[in-house]
């Protein structure tokens, strides 16, 4: 087939699916931009709080966590290297909540994006990856807005900015790759089996408590069965990495979590491949 024009090009995966994906996204950048803007507009049109919503979610969770895990559960935090005192729990949890919210919000959006956009999927052809991807981008905009609160918290609690903060983009890159793989798989699965989104809603809650969002979660402490499983969860080393880079001013120990990075690679590769191979079925399963 040889349709020309951005919207109607086909990709034959001769260069490998990953490179193909990049080509698709370059071809569809206008569309991706439009859909992302659409996501943001629709979200803010539908909620009264508007852009403040992006801040409200992580901040309110931070307040609840601070109350529960500091006042009631009295979680112990590792002391900061310079002072020997533990960091403020508010900053500690916010540094975890920020990437976690990006993760959970993107996937919550991605899981039913193909189904809610069935009008487009059934009527026009273009690479369908742009749907989950636009959800991720839209959540990323929220993430950037919510990051301003982190800046404010760091100023308030006198957290110095250190050179290790340069690790943040690398960690973000790993996280976005993992999100892309998960988002592609989930949106596709939910198109074929519509109850995936309900299962996902429960799973993402459990997942948060199996990740070091609200408390440090050393896998060694979890025992011989749960430990290895927790080690494979990429979100824990990612969030620990952000804390190392931002709060503790040290290099994240990426090598120690090699199992989790294999998971990231597999999820991304399988997600991209499976999505690419089955997207021609999407329109007829609507």
């Amino acid at each position: 087939m040889n349709r020309t024009g951005i919207a109607a090009r086909t990709y034959d995966a001769t260069l490998g699916v990953m490179l193909d994906l990049v080509r698709k996204l370059v071809d569809c950048r206008e569309l991706l931009y439009s859909l992302t803007i659409k996501e943001i507009k629709v979200r803010y049109k539908q909620s009264l709080l508007g852009i403040a919503w992006a801040v409200f979610m992580p901040v309110s969770m931070m307040l609840i966590f601070t109350f529960v895990f500091r006042r009631i559960a009295k979680v112990e935090l590792e002391p900061l290297p310079g002072t020997g005192l533990p960091p403020s729990y508010a900053v500690f949890s916010y540094v975890g909540l920020l990437p976690w919210n990006l993760f959970s919000q993107s996937l919550t959006g991605a899981v039913n994006t193909l189904v809610t956009n069935r009008g487009l999927v059934a009527k026009v052809y273009f690479p369908r990856e742009v749907f989950p991807l636009s959800k991720i981008f839209a959540s990323f905009v929220d993430f950037l807005v919510a990051s301003l609160v982190l800046v404010a918290l760091m100023v308030w609690y006198h957290v110095p900015v250190q050179t290790t903060i340069l690790w943040v983009p690398i960690l973000l890159g790993i996280q976005l790759s993992f999100m892309l793989g998960c988002g592609l798989m989930l949106s596709m699965a939910n198109l074929f089996y519509r109850d995936v989104q309900y299962i996902f809603q429960v799973a993402i809650q459990l997942w948060m408590f199996a990740t070091s969002v609200a408390y440090p979660l050393p896998a060694e402490a979890a025992g011989p069965i749960a430990g290895p499983i927790l080690r494979l969860n990429p979100m824990t080393p990612i969030i620990d990495g952000y804390r190392d880079a931002i709060l503790y001013g040290r290099m994240p120990d990426l090598a120690a979590s090699w199992g989790a990075w294999i998971v990231v690679g597999l999820v991304l590769w399988i997600g991209v491949l499976a999505f690419d191979r089955s997207q021609y079925l999407f329109a007829e399963r609507m």
Partner: protein, 412 residues
Amino acid sequence: MSIPVRFDNVSKSFKTGESATALRDLIPSLVRRLRGADPDARKLFWALRDVSFEVAEGEVLGFVGRNGAGKSTTLKLVAGILRQNKGTVEVNGSLSALIEVGAGFHPDLTGRENIFMNGAVLGLSRRDIRARFDDIVAFAELEEFIDTPVKRYSSGMYMRLGFAVAVHVDPAILLIDEVLAVGDLAFRRKCLERVKLLRAAGKTILFVSHKMNDVRAICDRVMYVKDGLIHREGTALDVTREFEADMKRRSALEITGAPLSQRTDNAAVRVMHVEARDSSGAPVTELHSGQSLIIHAAIESDIELLDPILSVALLRSDNLRACCATTRVLGPRIPRVRGACTFEVEFDDLDLMDDFYAIETIVWNAEMNVPLAQHLNPTIRFIDERPPVNRPGVFHPAARFGAIEHGPDLES
């Protein structure tokens, strides 16, 4: 120069029947499959079977056919929305598709935002869309509503916006599937004019419609799709006529197949047999408009009928009673009937419109208010080779136009 659209032995199947659309259904169905109880309850349904055709550059190809024939499936394969199971689909050139109503809009966004998104979907950059924005809005006649969310649009407004975007993105190939049906008459005209302009500009257009007049007006060539096959292919006039004839035959069959004809089977009075003949007396199933028709009928009565009235009517495929001959008006008076008998009625110079007509024969009581026996069969077709007329009426009158007498305006 490459061919814009080519289908080579293309087949497309769908799975019919319930599919597991939830994980909680998937597990039981997998278990059943493992136990061999229900290997695959779902059957394949072939929506297109070995279809081959080519569309030349600058050609307008029409598709006609009943619902479910496979027209939309064909267009969706061209658009790349579906993928064929067998064969090759070749498409060369930028493409814009209007498949059924509601061309890919997001209900929560305004008309303006949707134009930009739709334009991006069809492959335009924001700058391109901005340059065409005013034309699109003017064409759609939606100036007042352009900042209203499209979920508040009527289906006609929806279609206008979709059509306006699709024709303004300047595609090399345009697919139009039944979208014009929801627009009002004035807008449909405008769209057809636009399609003609695009045709004149050398665009390739695939056009699906149930409005045969539209198909005839714009298509160079038409394919009649039937049960996933190309049943017939030819000039717009020939193929649409054949399609219309088929449709009429179907509805005529549906009329004659109605329980009416069996209603008086066991009654004391029966219409045994009715035959249509031409003026030479030979049985016919088809006549040319203007020829004479003879109806020959056999009736039987177990009781003695006094002063019965006979009537023979022609019911057009749309159930219109085109004409009726009855002994009550035409005579002769029939004093009595008993046992078997036959009669004939001759219709002279029946100049009926091209259509199918079911012959309805009724034996009435003397007052002609109680039908004693009714019969609806056979069906006869009248073939009219004169050019088709927009608002045909029932029959061609024996009429003449006089010479035109011009008023003073033309003389000056």
